[in-house]
């Protein structure tokens, strides 16, 4: 049951749920949470491919088996930076606007 197809299918479903949340949520925090879910599903794809798919030069260079893990580490670092700046923007928006709702009447409170 734990095969490449199930891992990639699980990651695809999590990614699509994330897209749905980004498109439909009214609250900017919920949009952020959906973004984090999408980052995680991409990481799951990297690690699953690294576990199941044969690296091209494995015999000459053993470290090619670690490529997926390295990519996942960089994705996690970029996600951390994104959350720091994004939540900074949320706090700035809250201070200017008094609300963090994403709707057409944004800015009415000022």
């Amino acid at each position: 049951m734990m095969s490449l197809e199930t891992i990639l299918g699980l990651a695809a479903m999590l990614f699509v749920i994330g897209i749905f949340g980004v498109l439909t949520k009214k609250n900017i925090i919920a949009v952020f949470m959906s973004l984090e879910l999408m980052f995680n599903s991409v990481n799951l794809t990297f690690v699953g491919l690294s576990y199941f798919v044969m690296p091209v030069n494995l015999v000459t260079d053993l470290s090619t088996a670690m490529t997926g893990h390295v990519f996942a580490i960089f994705v996690i670092a970029v996600a951390a930076a994104e959350v720091a700046v994004g939540l900074g923007i949320v706090f700035a928006l809250y201070r200017v606007n008094g609300s963090i709702e994403l709707s057409s009447d944004i800015g009415r409170a000022t």
Partner: protein
């Protein structure tokens, strides 16, 4: 057999928590569902030979990012019914179904060059021992740490600059326009 069972539990938990995150109206519960997704994915990482990534996942996502998100959740006026959806739900659902179908067709129809049984134990050894400190002293160095500082050193340095820039950017955003 037992591996399949544990993987199934983690996969179902991840999917159910993700759906709960989207569906629940209480934004705080939705954030807790997100934490459950993170923990389930960390469990799947352990089963995929990525113990180091599982620990990083717990530390960074469950430890830091979820705390930040829950802190920001408190900004909502009415947390109990803050997680509302806009009017685009049905078009978004159609679009998401289309994307999911494309992804699944791509996954199923691709001829994956999976690892043969001959190389399975070799790849397992490399991935499990990549965080062993004694590996970096052997002749065949495939440890994650030296890989980050040799082959991927440019990306590594760029990520450190990015983190510094994000830190400064977040601080200057928090200071506000009136104090500048």
């Amino acid at each position: 057999m037992i591996e399949d069972l544990i993987f199934g539990i983690f996969a179902v938990a991840a999917l159910a928590s993700a759906i709960g995150m989207i569906a629940l109206k209480d934004l705080f519960r939705s954030a807790l569902c997100l934490v459950a997704v993170f923990i389930s994915i960390a469990g799947i990482y352990v089963m995929l030979n990525a113990e180091f990534l599982a620990v990083v996942q717990i530390l960074v996502y469950v430890g830091a990012i979820s705390i930040l998100i829950i802190f920001a959740v408190m900004l909502s006026d009415d947390v109990k019914s803050a997680n509302l959806s806009n009017k685009l739900q049905i078009p978004a659902m159609l679009l998401c179904g289309l994307i999911l179908a494309i992804l699944l067709v791509a996954v199923v129809s691709t001829q994956w060059n999976t690892i043969s049984d001959v190389n399975r134990s070799l790849v397992d050894t490399v991935q499990i021992y990549s965080v062993d400190p004694e590996i970096s002293e052997s002749t065949e160095d495939f440890s994650l740490a030296s890989l980050l500082l040799t082959d991927y050193v440019l990306a590594f340095e760029l990520v450190s600059v990015l983190l510094l820039a994000a830190l400064v950017g977040a601080l200057s955003l928090m200071r506000g326009a009136d104090e500048r």
